[in-house]
């Protein structure tokens, strides 16, 4: 399967935080959700994919090309939506089109106006008067108007009300009718993924814990619930993270078969939601 984005052994160090040896592939024609808690390294990774930040070590390739030699070609094919408005605040959409449009060879004015109409965006109102949701839609309209093959979005749903969030996610699904398109979006809201993502990349404290299809995630992970007496050094080996309480234990496993053969019917095995996985993998329970 073709990869649109490829990070190999990428390391970026900051004071008190680092992304280390990250290997990440984003598959062409699918929606990949990039999930992790606040401060896990999502924005840093996205900035490295956009060449806004340069990695200290490792290689970043987009469309199989290197930024050092093909920066313009790569960016021609990327549409971006950031968590805050990066367009000039005082400008209206018409002026933004005048500034941004000519930067792209593939820019299509007709398409832009079509999206503006579809997203019900005002053309002559300054962007600072737009709501967060409208700003996101405006960014998306710009991204789509130059026929971007890869759309990168950093927390597009953060701060949106539930209705607007759902509307935006529906839009993403609509966009994906064109199977040549790839969407890579970060979020810390797990329900977003369940709605639109085909693949999930999970990052925690600068480390990529997994990058799997939604189906694989559903098949591979499960919640195990049972009585604390069942736990010992051997049985715990099949569990990733365990939370003990007076009423029993609850744990996450990535080896359902091992759990079944180890515990048999003495435990309850349930489907783990993305939120469960994120919570346990982050080690959240240990702090409770």
């Amino acid at each position: 399967m073709e990869h649109v984005v490829e990070l190999k052994n990428v390391t970026k160090n900051f004071k008190g935080f680092s992304v280390e040896n990250m290997d990440l592939q984003v598959k062409k024609g699918f929606v990949t959700g990039f999930i992790g808690a606040n401060g896990a390294g999502k924005s840093t990774t996205i900035k490295m994919i956009m060449n806004l930040l340069k990695p200290d070590a490792g290689e970043v390739k987009v469309f199989g090309l290197d930024f050092k030699t093909h920066e313009k070609e790569i960016k021609e094919r990327i549409g971006f939506v950031y968590d805050s408005n990066v367009f000039y605040e005082g400008m209206n959409l018409k002026d933004i089109k005048r500034v941004v449009g000519p930067a792209y060879k593939q820019w299509d004015d007709h398409l832009f106006y079509q999206y503006v109409e579809q997203f019900e965006l005002p053309l002559n109102k300054s962007l600072k008067k737009f709501s967060k949701g409208m700003q996101m839609k405006a960014s998306l309209a710009v991204a789509l108007s130059h026929r971007a093959e890869l759309i990168i979005m950093d927390e597009p749903t953060a701060g949106l009300d539930p209705i607007f969030r759902r509307e935006l996610l529906d839009l993403l699904q609509e966009i994906m009718i064109d199977r040549n398109r790839t969407i890579f979006f970060s979020t810390h809201i797990t329900t977003d993924l369940e709605r639109v993502a085909d693949y999930i990349a999970f990052i925690n404290k600068g480390e990529l814990l997994f990058n799997q299809s939604m189906l694989d995630v559903a098949d591979n992970y499960a919640l195990v619930k049972g009585s604390v007496e069942l736990l010992d050094r051997d049985t715990e080996k099949s569990l990733l993270h365990v939370h003990r309480a007076s009423t029993g234990f609850e744990a996450l496993t990535d080896n359902i078969q091992a759990v079944k053969s180890m515990f048999g019917d003495s435990v309850v095995i349930e489907r783990a939601s993305m939120e469960d996985i994120m919570y346990y993998m982050k080690g959240g329970m240990q702090h409770v």
Binding site: K72, Y82, M91
Partner: protein, 201 residues
């Protein structure tokens, strides 16, 4: 590149309305034509920098299909273009106001503009956003305030320099200062490009 330069007109269309009254004010106040030319030259390029000071603008520009080299080049080339336009408009305004000026006034103003730009443009990429405009405005005012006096003082105290300059022909002085000013501008351009390429957004 052209698109990046053209962007300033779209961005500053409202400020440009202030441009003409601003130049007219200087003419009416009877300012030295060289000073009027200098203010006109500085107006658009520096306004453009104040716009680009924000981190978001740099994120936007760097997400568009431009290289960092092109972004800086557009700033330095754009400054020359807009300086030229500013001076052109001022020439017309002076003609209309029936105020005389010489080519020397234009030469002095553009020379000073290049020197001032050479030192301040890199600051926009070194200093923290938010402080730069203030620093640049203050330094312009301070230079405008003490600059001429310092030069007069130096002329008075260091006759060696004045004697040396007097001994040169006008063409040598013009060519020499043009070369020095252009050299400064190019060095500043190269320096800013290096700084900008290393920047993280």
């Amino acid at each position: 590149m052209f698109n990046l330069i053209r962007r300033d007109v779209i961005l500053q269309k409202w400020q440009l309305i202030i441009f003409i009254p601003c130049v007219a004010f200087f003419i009416m106040m009877g300012s030295h034509p060289a000073l009027t030319f200098l203010v006109a030259a500085i107006f658009i390029p520096f306004n453009a920098f104040f716009y680009d000071e924000k981190a978001e603008t740099n994120i936007l520009l760097n997400s568009l299909p431009y290289t960092r080299k092109t972004i800086i080049a557009s700033r330095y080339i754009g400054a020359i273009v807009y300086m030229g336009l500013g001076i052109g408009v001022t020439c017309l305004a002076l003609l209309i106001a029936n105020t005389s000026y010489t080519l020397t006034d234009i030469a002095i103003a553009s020379g000073l503009f290049f020197v001032f730009a050479s030192f301040t443009f890199p600051l926009f990429y070194i200093l923290k956003p938010g402080y730069i405009s203030t620093v640049v405005m203050l330094s312009f005012l301070v230079l405008a305030g003490i600059g001429p006096r310092t030069v007069l003082y130096l002329i008075d105290k260091l006759p060696v320099i004045t004697d040396f300059i007097n001994s040169l022909s006008m063409s040598v002085i013009y060519t020499g200062s043009t070369l020095i000013v252009m050299f400064l501008y190019v060095i500043s351009w190269v320096f800013t490009t290096i700084v900008y390429q290393r920047k993280a957004f």
